[in-house]
């Protein structure tokens, strides 16, 4: 392995890839140039549609040839141009000279093949080894990525492993032949924050030991701060700025980069006035939700999604519920809105316990609690105009059509959209605009409590900042009580007055946001805060 030290592992020069006719722009990526050296991690950052993934897949030769055509430039891997290689030559390079790790480790592994055999497959393709030598090599690599009991795990199937273990398998697979280039496409986005920290640590460690050059695709500046040597910022298919990590994060020069970095919520909660003790808008007492039945066959299959959850939410305050997947935070949200029925406990709204109320009585209270969901693309009925969606609720409660219409128009202005847009269909709006519409729909009911269930999690960082501002704004304007469910500690720090931390269905810590962040009591809270990517970096404001 005698590389000439000054030849980069990967060098992209003036690469342009054409989009098919009828797309909203001509090029998927245009005039993209950057390079990755040995032992170097280069982060490609951008929002959705920036072209960062197209760049990665073009290098790998995995773009659909019919739809995306590279028309200009060069991709030099160890000085050899990849464009113009035959399919056969590319197949030989993939896996051997460049490996790739994908976003979703569950779907990226074949569910019916043992994970060990899936790693061994790559040796079968590229290396002339006996079956036993292959197996030995696979087990060594699994050890290398710190998988426990590799001999035993070799025979496991993907569904038997945790998300983090699956991603380690993917990394082992990409690195088993020690390729010079590793492409990681949002490899930690689907993982919980603590697992994410471990996987980032692993990538950095392995890359340093093997001298691998890494192209790391991400949308998360926290991750960039933790892992990057150099950063390439992309927008609408073009590179707008590149430089070392410190240059980009603390002294960005391009306005777009400045805006992006300025939109990253700080992990330090701002100083907030202590709200006066207002009336209680929502109260949950000893709330339990258990999934699964105790039946002849189901014994031992009970999932306690929420256990003895207590919460009090007053008018004019925002209570954050944070936790990783499976913590039960969404279960709590859906219970208090009564989209699911709690197993036991009280839910008091306006002094009435609605926990076990029948649907017919419940309707009167539905008006008082409204919810905004995570996925802006599925939250609006695609067959109905946004106006119809917004007036649906108020008209259920006796508002006349014209009154509801004028209320909807007014709300559209408040959420920053034109009232004329009420006659349009959801697919004519962007994700952020749809989320605004969903907020308008919730507000149209004139609720006392607004629940935001991961309401900004699916949005790009710049849009996220705007929607957060809107939520803050309407909370103040209508003196709402807001229950804010999120996995994102940065977002929670910025918007919540108080914080509840949940782990496996149990509330482990609760307190004022600034206090919890400054002085976490429970070990789990500490591990969450320690795992938050980019916690030591001050982003340029």
């Amino acid at each position: 392995m005698n590389e000439i030290s000054d030849t980069p592992v990967l060098e992209i020069k003036g690469l342009s890839v054409l989009l098919p006719d009828g797309a909203d722009r001509e090029f998927a990526i245009e005039e993209v140039s950057f390079s990755i050296g040995r032992s170097e991690i280069v982060c490609i950052v951008g929002e959705s549609g920036s072209g960062k993934s197209v760049t990665a897949f073009t290098v790998m030769g995995l773009i659909p040839k019919k739809d995306l055509v590279p028309v200009a430039g060069e991709i030099l891997l160890h000085g050899e141009n990849l464009l113009g290689k035959s399919d056969r030559q590319m197949r030989r390079l993939r896996g051997e000279k460049m490996g790739m790790v994908f976003q979703e480790p569950m779907t990226a592994l074949n569910p019916v093949i043992k994970v060990g055999d899936q790693i061994a497959e790559i040796l079968e393709i590229h290396a002339n080894m006996s079956a036993s030598a292959r197996k030995k090599r696979v087990i060594e690599t699994m050890e290398d990525v710190s998988l426990p009991e590799p001999v035993k795990m070799y025979n496991s199937y993907p569904h038997q492993l945790s998300g983090g273990q699956r991603q380690r398998i993917m990394i082992a697979m990409a690195l088993v032949l020690e390729p010079g280039l590793l492409i990681a496409d949002e490899p930690t986005t689907a993982l919980d924050v603590t697992t994410q920290a471990e996987v980032l640590e692993l990538i950095r460690d392995i890359q340093a030991r093997h001298g691998t050059g890494v192209m790391f695709i991400t949308h998360d500046f926290g991750v960039v701060a933790d892992i990057a040597d150099r950063v390439v910022v992309m927008q609408n298919g073009k590179v707008v700025e590149q430089g070392t990590r410190d240059e980009i994060l603390s002294a960005p020069s391009h306005p777009y980069t400045k805006m992006l970095i300025g939109s990253v919520p700080s992990l330090t909660p701002p100083v907030r006035p202590i709200p006066e003790i207002a009336e209680t808008a929502l109260e949950a007492k000893a709330l339990n939700k258990t999934y699964g039945r105790v039946g002849f066959f189901e014994k031992g299959r009970l999932v306690k999604a929420a256990q003895n959850v207590e919460l009090i939410l007053r008018r004019g305050e925002t209570l954050g519920v944070v936790g990783e997947s499976g913590s039960g935070k969404s279960t709590v949200a859906r219970c208090v809105v009564r989209l699911i029925d709690p197993t036991s406990g009280d839910i008091n709204v306006a002094g009435t316990n609605i926990a076990q109320m029948a649907e017919s009585e419940l309707r009167a209270y539905r008006q008082k609690i409204q919810i905004v969901f995570q996925d802006p693309y599925r939250s609006l009925n695609p067959r109905r105009t946004v106006g119809q969606s917004i007036v649906e609720g108020p008209m259920n409660f006796g508002l006349s059509g014209t009154e509801a219409q004028s209320r909807a128009e007014n709300l559209m202005r408040i959420v920053g959209l034109a009232p004329e847009a009420l006659t349009r269909f959801p697919h004519q709006f962007s994700g952020g605009q749809r989320q605004r519409i969903c907020i308008a729909r919730a507000l149209a009911m004139e609720p006392r409590v607004l629940i935001a269930d991961e309401a900004v999690s699916a949005l790009d960082v710049s849009v996220q900042a705007q929607v957060l501002r809107l939520l803050q704004d309407v909370r103040e304007r209508y003196d709402l009580a807001m229950l804010f469910i999120t996995h994102d500690l940065r977002v929670a720090a910025q918007i919540c007055d108080r914080i509840m931390v949940m782990q496996r269905g149990v509330v482990v810590e609760e307190g004022r946001t600034s206090e919890v962040y400054a002085n976490p009591q429970h070990p789990y809270t500490r591990s969450l805060l320690n795992a938050a990517p980019g916690r030591e970096t001050n982003f340029a404001r």
Binding site: V337, L339, R363, R366, Q367, I369, Q370, I371, F373, Q374, D375, R378, S379, L380, N381, P382, R383, R384, S389, E392, G393, N396, F397, F425, H427, C438, R441, M445
Partner: protein, 295 residues
């Protein structure tokens, strides 16, 4: 039977929904719908008007028994000297009536049962186990048994074909309901206090229409085939009525000397069913662009 795969595919057919204003144009641009639909309209016209223009399909003519096709009798004559051309034209009427009636009735019943199964948890198991049971009984045997018990009339034949077709529709509708009711926009409507009938009407039913139209065409095709098989086996519509199945049933004995008695109605039937199936495929492709794009 558990066939999650099938249910998943059915449910899949629902979730690609963009209210596309050019849907109708898209349908007319679809070659399958254009040609299949055109052929179908032609057959429907023949079935509606044809019998007024041809000879009496039941008129006996003992002198002209088993004649080969000729200028005088285009499709030849059968063992009683009846004109096969006139009989085949009349048979189109029977086939289409049976196909359309079965499609409408089974989609109607299936829609109601599927909505109930998807929304009323108590009845779900009862309905679905019953449907599983019905699906386990081979359709043709079930129809034969029902007809041999209640006598062969047009009505009982239609009913006997409807019963085995219903379970497929129920499963489809239920799969759609179960998928759609989990959608956040339905949950938002629940949270907004919308009552169940309105939720069904506004949010659930519109999602069932496209897959049901497609399913209806398949049911129609399968019903026409079943009707002809019942007739062919002598267990269908009374033999006095010249349905395609009956004509072919009577032609069996003479097949070696007069094969056209079976071939002409057979071609008519195959073309009609083909037209319906092609329209069904075309509708599936335009109403469900996600699968269509893969093709």
């Amino acid at each position: 039977m558990t066939d999650h795969a099938q249910d998943a595919i059915m449910a899949d057919a629902v979730l690609s929904e963009h209210e596309d204003p050019s849907l109708l144009a898209g349908m007319l641009n679809n070659r399958a719908i254009f040609w299949g639909g055109g052929l179908l309209i032609l057959f429907a016209l023949i079935a509606a008007i044809g019998p007024f223009l041809t000879l009496d399909p039941t008129e006996l003519n003992p002198i002209k028994r088993l004649k080969s096709p000729s200028a005088e009798a285009w499709f030849g004559s059968d063992f009683l000297g009846r004109d096969i051309f006139s009989r085949v034209i009349y048979g189109a009427r029977v086939s289409l009536v049976v196909g359309i009636a079965v499609a409408l009735i089974s989609v109607g019943i299936g829609l109601i049962l599927g909505l109930v199964a998807g929304y009323v948890r108590v009845l779900d198991a009862v309905i679905m186990r019953t449907m599983d049971g019905l699906m386990s009984i081979p359709a043709i045997l079930l129809a034969i048994a029902l007809i041999s018990l209640s006598g062969a009339t047009l009505g009982t034949v239609i009913l006997a074909i409807v019963i085995p077709e219903v379970p497929r529709v129920v499963r489809l509708v239920r799969a759609v309901v179960l998928t759609v009711r989990e959608e956040p926009y339905v949950e938002a409507a629940i949270a907004a206090g919308t009552r169940l009938p309105l939720i069904l009407k506004r949010h659930i039913l519109p999602n069932t229409i496209a897959p049901l139209i497609v399913q209806a065409t398949y049911v129609c095709a399968s019903a026409m085939l079943t009707e002809s098989i019942l007739g062919f086996l002598g267990a269908g519509i009374p033999p006095e009525i010249p349905s395609w199945g009956n004509i072919m049933s009577e032609g069996r004995t003479y097949f070696q000397i007069s094969p056209w008695i079976i071939f002409f109605p057979g071609i008519g039937l195959a073309l009609t069913v083909l037209a319906v199936n092609i329209v069904g495929d075309g509708l599936r492709d335009t109403l469900d662009p996600r699968i269509a794009r893969k093709i």
